[in-house]
Point group: C2
Chain length 190, copies 2
């Protein structure tokens, strides 16, 4: 998506070979016009798949996932990223280990909002090692729901996320695919 790539080149800050900061338009300050265009792009790409829900993880994916859900005319479901110690039969959980951030967190989902009839589109801001997406897939499987596809704003193609997800049979659609990061330099695929 040209609009997103141009913005990454103009405002993204590559801190090193791994970290790209996009705080000025995606993660901290958010350009809602751009997010609306991103929602339309994802909706157009995935529109024929019979999607019933859009799912994301708090909090950076919420806006692009919400704009996609609005365009598709389906509800958004936001997975909580917290180790809840409230005993609640309605909730299911899975642990996600983030190699990128070097921590673990628990993803929680209420069973009422995803059922076996749901065909779900997962939207997230970054794809690196694919831990978040595989956590979402585990939760969907526990509820016998299916994953329709994965929409990503920024993919780090030099990390194994796409490979793992495609090997497991899932389609990954990324709006900006980064080939290489270095301090001060951002290189796209193609």
């Amino acid at each position: 998506m040209k609009e997103l790539k141009d913005r990454i080149l103009a405002e993204g800050r590559a801190l090193n070979e791994d970290i790209l900061k996009v705080d000025s338009f995606i993660n901290h300050q958010v350009d809602m016009e751009l997010m609306s265009a991103i929602g339309k792009e994802f909706a157009e790409h995935f529109k024929d798949l019979g999607i019933t829900k859009v799912i994301t993880i708090e909090s950076s994916g919420i806006i692009p996932a919400g704009m996609t859900a609005l365009e598709l005319g389906v509800p958004l479901v936001i997975l909580k990223k917290a180790s809840s110690n409230v005993l609640n039969d309605d909730m299911i959980h899975t642990e996600v280990t983030s190699f990128t951030k070097g921590n673990s967190y628990e993803l929680s989902l209420c069973k009422r909002y995803i059922t076996e009839n749901d065909h779900v589109l997962f939207i997230d801001d970054f794809l690196a090692n694919g831990e978040a997406a595989t956590g979402v897939i585990r939760l969907l499987r526990m509820l016998h729901a299916t994953m329709a596809g994965i929409g990503i704003l920024i993919e780090k193609t030099f990390q194994p996320g796409r490979g793992k997800l495609e090997d497991a049979g899932f389609e990954v659609y990324s709006l900006a695919r980064i080939k290489k990061l270095e301090a001060g330099s951002i290189e796209f695929m193609d």
Copy 2:
């Protein structure tokens, strides 16, 4: 706002005198059509105030705040709710003590995204004791920005949030004002 009140009556669950769960359309599963209507309502109400940014706190306020920012044609700024121990001169912090939840957290804001020229609208899902809003006001003051107003989806009028904020000179506009909660029963003002 009739649409929101009707939905609260249909799907909200009052667990006791303090807690109203709206997980099926605001906090966990999100009805994007309703959120779009809420964004339009806030934008219409606050449109003549010269608002330059909409601000919210992760993560339940993000969608209604984003829809309002989209309607007003201004950026959204999402305050992070974490005790960051990264030393970063760009960030300012303030501690918020939540009487409702019985915990404390640190709100963080990057100085780049709010300046002394900003006139800011704060949007949040709930207003109870007003701790979150007063934390946001403290951060705006540190940067010599001004608060244009406060937009709330659900106000618990039996708690002191509105009084504190109005005494400090701020306008609070709530879409649903709850007079009384009891297990299984929800009563609105008016």
